[in-house]
Each structure stands twice: as structure tokens, then as C-alpha cells.
């Protein structure tokens, strides 16, 4: 069990909702969530499909442990062909929406086609129907959630929705649930917008009763919670400081990408760090941070709830932004801050709120602003192109551009296409800092070598959540490796990628992996799900999922050439810090990685590999 064994198939073109049994044979091969939804996706969708066409599908999916008492068991994922990348996309979100979908009795929702007019999907247990959303179109994610709850007279409904960014074709639009959690990357919100699907509203009162062995499950999840509580990162660091605790750490080791990766250390890093969130502001005597917060079932509670300075230029006379709200997390603080050279914490919080409110990935948005600022400093983009002066470090430009991008106004339209398209249009494609048209997150691969390979080979484009070797190279989890060398990184990247695919398919949060390895989640999965869920099998499932995603991308037209880093990271050495003088050694790591994966020199899985994995 673990699964509800039910899928909801929504035909947006014809306005129908149908229940289907879950393919249990596939569930045994792909576990759930990321793996299982990807299996459905690749079986039903032509890899060459235009991501924004009705022929693309979008799947919202839970894992077998979603909605259970397992710590962090509240995750859901969105699987589609990414609008930003054209590659397989799988964006994972916490909050409470995923668990609610499970409580309503659904493992998965498959959206297909395109609605002739804006609609939202309303689910109340087994009752599912599409409803008119013309009154919601043009509204923010925050307004959408509020209006839906009022309309249904039910404050306990959970909502995920797109904001104006998703409606306006921002290619890195995300899907926001519970106000400030998001299926963030690769433009899954743009795909949702292209289908005229504004929101999904769920109320589930059935709960999760399908646990194979409740007694064993409670024992296994209790043991897991104990490990999380006793671990320094998940038990103390993350609840107290959140992910932003990394700001000073990564800056010190010279791996904090700064000003579009021109530098690897940011002189104002401490001003946008987790520690700064605890400092009292001179203006109002309050700290930026209000409290930490947990997603469904999470005993770590890394989430940040903050309050902006009411006197800050970005929110003068805008009381709607004065309340406590989500942020800042490390990635957003970096992308909106160091990536642009902006050290104004309040400005970052404002831009972050705009990203939440209107549904944009702050990583890709912030990094695209960074690219635009570099083009501005090079004189390629002029003041009249952008509509303002936009040098590195301009907090005013950052805040203004966030609003323009969300609303699709002026230069914001160009920014909404992402850095790859922006830089290509202005004749400098090499200045886009990303892989497969998706912007890098907050780790410079000259100072953390393994991340270069993880980025280059990530199936959804540059991403830290597909193989987080930072854990090993910087934090020593599970063992410390030297971040400045390439030796051994191919095997490390592969191990992280495969294990991550299992976490992402279970319903659990990848942040547990600071403390948990597969041996910690195996007993939880085995107690919840029928079938053989040995450690060996989980390892195989992870590798199978990775290769399945790879096969889709190859069929979509990607080649080994796309598993690469921008020239800056391969030819311009880090200027300062411990990595001074180093470039990333991707060309040394990649052949070894292909070999370890059982792929040929062109990065294609060999017949033996596919056969071994049952693909």
C-alpha cells in the first residue's frame, strides 16, 4: 500500500475528469512521485513536443509516504516537459497541498490538452470538477487562494496556483502552494498557464489508511525522527538558521557566484546571511526573521517567516507587503542578492515576495537579472532598453524588474524568457550562466568541482537538487571530499543522483538527506508499501529513474554537447579565495561519469545498461 491506487485524469480540452487505477506494476518499478510520474509522462508524451503546446502534459504527483506521519512526508512534484529547458522537468514542493491531495484519495493528477478558457480544478475527495476561473485570471497566487477559499466557504482547502508570471509566459514561472512554497524550477508554471489552468483546490477528508504495517511504520518513522533530531544540521542548524546558514560558509570557501559568476566571493555576503536575519534593524528595532516554520509532517522546520522593514523604499505605502511572509531561503537570497551584487536584505525580501506572489522561480529570475546587469555594464544593454539604470548592486533595479517581469511589462518581457534567450538575443550567449537553458543555483563549480559535473548532467538543467555533492565536498556528509579536485567526483555525483531520485519518489524531502541515507528511509518505505523494498532495490530504482529521464532528454534532441558548462567556468579562473586560479574540470570528470553510468562516449545508455535496468 502507501499508494491510494487512484489517478485522476483531467482532459482540459474537453473539460472532463476521470478516475483510473494506478499502474501497480510501474509503482513497483518506480516507487512514486518523481519516478512514477515520469514513467507515465514518457509513456504518453512525444519527447519532441513543444512544451507550451496542448500536446504537452502536466502531472501533479504524490509519493507513497506523502500524507503520512513520516517526517517531511508532505511532498508533491510536478512533472512535465520544461518550458525553460525543453528537458524533462520535475519540480518538488512542500507545504500542505501534496498531503491534502493524498487525503482526497489521489496519487496523481494527469492534465492533458488545453482548456478553451481559464479554469481551476476543484477536488473534494472523489469529486473532481473543472470550474470557471475567468474571475481569477490576472490575480496573484495569494489572491487566488483567498478567493477560492471564500467562494467555497471552506478555509481548510489547500490551493496551488500560478500567478501572473505563469499567465504571462514567464518561462521560469513556478506553481505556488500554501502562499510561499513552490514547485519552482524549469517553468512548470508556464506549462500550467499555457493550458489555461489557473489553480487546483483540494479538500481531502479521507486520510491515509493504506499503510502495509502501521506498527512497523510508526516504529520506523519514530527512529527516523530521532536521527533527524540528533543531527547537528537537521536538529539545530536548519531549524535555527534555515538554508541561509550556507551564505557565509559558501562565501568563505570561495564558491558563492557573484555578479553573474564574475567573482566567487561577495563582499556583502554577511549582510544577506542567516545571521543577518537575526539582527535588529536600526529603523524599527525588529529582526527580519519572525519565526521558523514547518511544511506538512516536517520535524526539521527549516522554513523562514520574515517581516520586511515597512520604511524600505520597495514597500512604502504598500501595506499588503508588511505582514509576515515566507523567505528568505539560501537560494533566493543568493540569486536575488550575490548574483546581482545586491546586498540590501530588505530588497531581496521584497523581490522574493514578488516571486511568491506572482509565481516566479527566484533562482532563474535573479540570475537572469544578473546576466542583464552584466550586459548593461558592458554597454550592450542601454538605460533606454531596460527603462532604468541597472548596474550590478542596484537594489532599485532588482525590485522594479521583479514587478515588471511578473506583470510582463516593458523589459520584464525579455527577462521573463530567461538568461539563455536574453544573452543569445544580444549576441553574447556565453554570458548565460546555466546548463540546458536553466540558470545555475548558488554554488560556483570552480570552488566545488563536483557540482560542475552535477550541473552539467542534471536531467532538468542546472540544479543543486539533482546531486548535491556540496554535502560531501563542503559539509562532509556522508564523508568529506576535497572540493577543489575532480578525482572521485564522477562516482560521487552518480551516487548522489541515484539516491536523490529515490528520495524524490518517496514523498519525503531531500533535506532529510543531511542526516538520512537510503538505509534510513528504506525501513519507512518497506513498512508502508507492499512489495520488496530492499536497499538493493531502492538503489536500482534510483538508477532506473535517472536513465529513464536521460532517455527522454536524448529523444527530445539533447546530446552530450549539452552536458557542459558555460566557457566562463572552464576558462576564467576564480579570482579569490581557496579556489583562486581554478576553473572547473568538467572535461576530466565527464568521460569517467559516462563510463560509470554505463553510457557510451556520446552519453547514451548502452544496450546492456538499459537491459540491466529493465528499460
Amino acid at each position: 500500500m502507501g499508494w491510494t491506487r487512484k489517478i485522476l485524469r483531467v482532459d482540459l480540452t474537453n473539460g472532463t475528469c476521470k478516475s483510473e487505477p494506478l499502474n501497480m506494476e510501474w509503482a513497483q518499478q518506480y516507487l512514486g512521485q518523481r519516478g512514477l510520474a515520469t514513467k507515465y509522462f514518457v509513456s504518453e508524451v512525444d519527447p519532441k513536443v513543444d512544451p507550451l503546446s496542448p500536446a504537452n502534459k502536466l502531472i501533479m504527483t504524490t509519493g507513497p509516504l506523502t500524507g503520512t506521519a513520516a517526517s517531511t512526508g508532505g511532498r508533491y512534484s510536478v512533472v512535465t516537459k520544461g518550458a525553460l529547458t525543453g528537458a524533462i522537468a520535475c519540480s518538488n514542493s512542500g507545504g500542505f497541498f501534496g498531503a491534502e491531495l493524498k487525503f482526497a484519495g489521489w496519487d496523481m493528477i494527469i492534465f492533458e490538452g488545453k482548456s478553451p478558457k481559464p479554469v481551476y480544478l476543484s477536488i473534494e475527495n472523489d469529486k473532481a470538477e473543472l470550474k470557471d476561473a475567468s474571475h481569477l485570471w490576472g490575480k496573484t497566487t495569494w489572491q487566488t487562494e483567498e478567493i477560492i477559499k471564500k467562494t467555497h466557504q471552506d478555509p481548510q482547502i489547500r490551493v496551488c496556483s500560478i500567478g501572473r508570471a505563469g499567465e504571462n509566459g514567464v518561462l521560469y514561472a513556478c506553481i505556488v502552494n500554501d502562499l510561499h512554497r513552490a514547485a519552482g524550477r524549469s517553468g512548470v508554471g508556464a506549462v500550467m498557464g499555457s493550458k489555461n489552468l489557473k489553480a487546483v483546490a483540494v479538500r481531502g477528508t479521507l486520510g491515509v489508511s493504506g499503510i502495509k504495517d502501521f506498527k512497523a511504520f510508526l516504529a520506523a518513522t519514530a527512529a527516523g525522527k530521532k536521527v533527524l533530531a540528533e543531527n547537528a544540521v537537521t536538529g539545530q542548524g536548519l531549524p535555527k538558521y534555515g538554508t541561509q546558514v550556507l551564505m557565509n560558509v559558501i562565501n568563505e570557501i570561495g564558491a558563492l557566484p557573484t555578479r553573474n559568476h564574475r567573482d566567487v566571493q561577495f563582499e556583502e555576503a554577511s549582510k544577506i546571511s542567516a545571521e543577518a536575519m537575526y539582527e535588529k534593524r536600526p529603523t524599527d528595532g525588529k529582526t527580519h526573521l519572525v519565526t521558523n516554520a514547518a511544511c506538512f509532517g516536517c520535524t526539521i522546520a527549516c522554513g523562514r517567516i520574515s517581516r520586511i522593514d515597512e520604511t524600505h523604499f520597495s514597500v512604502v505605502n504598500k501595506p499588503e507587503y508588511w505582514g509576515a511572509s515566507g523567505g528568505l531561503e539560501y537560494e533566493a537570497a543568493w540569486a536575488l542578492g550575490a548574483a546581482n551584487g545586491v546586498g540590501d536584505l530588505e530588497a531581496l525580501q521584497f523581490a522574493n515576495m514578488i516571486c511568491n506572489e506572482d509565481g516566479m522561480d527566484p533562482i532563474s529570475f535573479g540570475a537572469t537579472v544578473g546576466a542583464a546587469m552584466e550586459l548593461y555594464e558592458l554597454g550592450i544593454l542601454k538605460k533606454e532598453d531596460i527603462g532604468m539604470e541597472a548596474p550590478f548592486g542596484s537594489a532599485k533595479a532588482l525590485c522594479e524588474l521583479a514587478q515588471m517581469t511578473a506583470k510582463g511589462e516593458g523589459f520584464g518581457k525579455e527577462l521573463g524568457l530567461g538568461s539563455a534567450r536574453l544573452c543569445a538575443k544580444h549576441g553574447r550567449p556565453e554570458l548565460s550562466m546555466g546548463v540546458k537553458q536553466q540558470e545555475f543555483p548558488a554554488y560556483d563549480s570552480r570552488g566545488i568541482q563536483g557540482m560542475g559535473l552535477a550541473y552539467a548532467t542534471s536531467n532538468r538543467g542546472a540544479c543543486h537538487l539533482r546531486g548535491y555533492t556540496v554535502a560531501s565536498e563542503v559539509l562532509g556528509i556522508p564523508v568529506k571530499t576535497d572540493p577543489l579536485v575532480t578525482e572521485g567526483k564522477a562516482a560521487l555525483v552518480k551516487a548522489f543522483q541515484d539516491a536523490t531520485a529515490v528520495f524524490d519518489s518517496s514523498g519525503l524531502c531531500i533535506f532529510t538527506s543531511f542526516a538520512w541515507g537510503l538505509p534510513d528511509i528504506q525501513p519507512q518505505i518497506a513498512a508502508a508499501c507492499e512489495g520488496d523494498w530492499s536497499l538493493e532495490k531502492l538503489n536500482e530504482v534510483g538508477e532506473r529513474i535517472w536513465n529513464l529521464e536521460r532517455q527522454f532528454n536524448l529523444a527530445a534532441g539533447f546530446t552530450a554537447k549539452d552536458d557542459d558548462l558555460p566557457p566562463r567556468l572552464k576558462t576564467e579562473p576564480a579570482k579569490t579565495g581557496p579556489a583562486k586560479g581554478l576553473v572547473n574540470g568538467i572535461d576530466k570528470m565527464k568521460p569517467e561519469y559516462y563510463q560509470l553510468r554505463g553510457w557510451d562516449a556520446d552519453g547514451r545508455p548502452t544496450g546492456d545498461t538499459l537491459k540491466r535496468l529493465g528499460l
Binding site: G67, L179, G204, T205, I211, F214, A301, G323
Partner: protein
């Protein structure tokens, strides 16, 4: 010694482990919509507050019940609904000033916190100590300790 649930909202992260524990204890299923303790999220203030029955000494629900379906558990002091007697008239839900006794359409009866017979599952499940089960006469003990710690008893130099 009688004990009572003690809630320190400042420690609550809003994870809902208490709601899952409560629904599992009473219905054998992970289902927050069946939980007798609820966590309220005051989003714009950044506050999360778990809330459930305080087991009033002179309980409105018990006094209002026309069929005597709510009795005191002598061991714990909890006001407990006897489902066999309850007729689902919902008068108790009107009488309770706090809203902590509610009707369950599926069973046709009302439900409220019964302290799990003296081992409340919510308190055991809470990862941060926001919900504890303590001496009913000393729910203020921890707060007193905090303030006591602030009392300056250092010896002073003679003026």
C-alpha cells in the same frame, strides 16, 4: 496527580504531527480532518497555535448534553463522549464556548479530546515540545522558571 495538556504556541512550527497522531490514535488513519487538536496558522503574524479542549472543570458540553453522553474520566479528569449514548443532537457544540467539541457526520456522533486515557498521542508526537502533558496544577511552572531566571539575585556591593 491530575495532568493536563499544556500548549506553548511559541514552540509550534505547524508540522501537524499532532493532528496525524490524534487521528491515528482514534481512527487508525493519518487524517488531520479527523483530528481533535487543530493547529491554526496566523499567516501574516507568523504565528502557529495548536488548540484543543481544555477539559473545563464545570464543562458546558457536559452540562448541555440532554442524554448524559459526556462523562468525567475519573483517572484523567477528561470529559469523555460515550458514543453509544450520544444521539448526535449537537447541543454540546453550541454550548462549548471554544468550539473544541465537533460533530462527525460519518459516525453521527460528536468528538472531542479525551486525553487518550492519560497518554495523549499529540504530546508524544510533538517534535518541539509545544504540546506537553504536565501537572494540571502547575501549567505555569515553566513560565515561572523563565521569569525566575530573570530575577537578579546577584549580591550587590555596599552602597
Amino acid at each position: 496527580m491530575q495532568k493536563s495538556l499544556h500548549i506553548d504556541a511559541n514552540k509550534c512550527t505547524g508540522c501537524l504531527q499532532c493532528e496525524m497522531a490524534c487521528s491515528y490514535e482514534n481512527y487508525g488513519v493519518f487524517n488531520p480532518s479527523r483530528s481533535r487538536i487543530k493547529v491554526f496558522n496566523f499567516e501574516h503574524e507568523g504565528r502557529k497555535v495548536p488548540y484543543t479542549c481544555t477539559q473545563c472543570a464545570d464543562a458546558w458540553c457536559m452540562n448541555a448534553c440532554p442524554v448524559d453522553a459526556i462523562r468525567i474520566d475519573a483517572a484523567t479528569g477528561a470529559k469523555v463522549v460515550n458514543e453509544a449514548t450520544c444521539v448526535g443532537c449537537k447541543v454540546c457544540t453550541i454550548a462549548c464556548p471554544f468550539g473544541t467539541i465537533n460533530y462527525v457526520a460519518e459516525t453521527g456522533k460528536v468528538q472531542k479530546c479525551d486525553l487518550c486515557g492519560g497518554e495523549p498521542a499529540c504530546a508524544a508526537a510533538c517534535p518541539t515540545g509545544a504540546i506537553t502533558y504536565v501537572d494540571a496544577d502547575w501549567t505555569g511552572f515553566d513560565k515561572m522558571r523563565v521569569w525566575a531566571a530573570k530575577t537578579d539575585t546577584a549580591p550587590r556591593a555596599a552602597a
